[in-house]
Symmetry: C2
Subunit: 149 residues, 2 copies
Amino acid sequence: MKLSTKGRYGLKAMFELALHYGEGPTPLKNIADSQDISEHYLEQLIAVLRKSGLVNSVRGAQGGYLLNDSPKNITVGNVIRALEGDIAPADCVLENEEVNCDKLNYCVTKTIWMKIRDSINDVIDSITLQDMVDEHKEKNEGQGYMYYI
Amino acid sequence: MKLSTKGRYGLKAMFELALHYGEGPTPLKNIADSQDISEHYLEQLIAVLRKSGLVNSVRGAQGGYLLNDSPKNITVGNVIRALEGDIAPADCVLENEEVNCDKLNYCVTKTIWMKIRDSINDVIDSITLQDMVDEHKEKNEGQGYMYYI
DNA sequence: TGAATCCCTAGTGTTATACTTGGTATTTCA
DNA sequence: TGAAATACCAAGTATAACACTAGGGATTCA
């Protein structure tokens, strides 16, 4: 039941972009350095985020990546689903492709997988990147430490 | 974010034992047939459940497995944790061995992983094997079909 | 023109998963 | 008493996913 690094790194990267929202493009190298992620690997993840429309890119020197929308309008669920696909603890409760695993019997484990799936989705759909930025600023204020030196 | 077959098959097996609670030992073959699981593979999973004290075994002909406690007292969480270990979407929020991934910064993704972890645990700790049995009987009643022919 | 950046494709070592294979030990029952 | 039914144990294996690395091409700015 682990999230892979795709989802975890991807969310860190999106958080980083949210911190700099409105300041022009952020180069990948900065994100990778700040969050301590391999640049080349992150490149592959952010390519997925770009193709799914969550971020835009600007090529060339002084280029980089930026959020395609306000952090208020992007949820953790948007990011994780883009990178990991639909969240479900078992294939039989994948949102689009629900399978009838058991024709004769009503399957009681399926009920449980649905409840787990829904509880996870409730969490990730209720948190926006802006929430993360707000929390970060709150916790780090008054420490004489600026995140983005 | 998938549960492995360990947790999924293991829960199915425990449900099967709960259905037959109080009726003496159920042989592995019956469980494997009912739930359509490889017998030899299930053997390995149930060995873990036995070592963790959730089931007992009776050897020899007419032997099999039985729950070590009433289905009312065994939760889905007990079963899944025995087979998969503590549930957490990222290692940094594993219950026993929480790691400080980021010394300088307050890590906002960690907050999210904790919320996901807690929501999953809430679900699996709130459902007992008896709940599953009750739901199964409710849904299958009046269908002229008995599960345990 | 050259440095900084994004973009793309392919390869690779490691690990976990989901089994299979092939036995041994114990108990019941005919 | 012997055969069948069961639990118990240890090892091997094919596949796939993960988490990268490597190497280069395209674009833009100064």
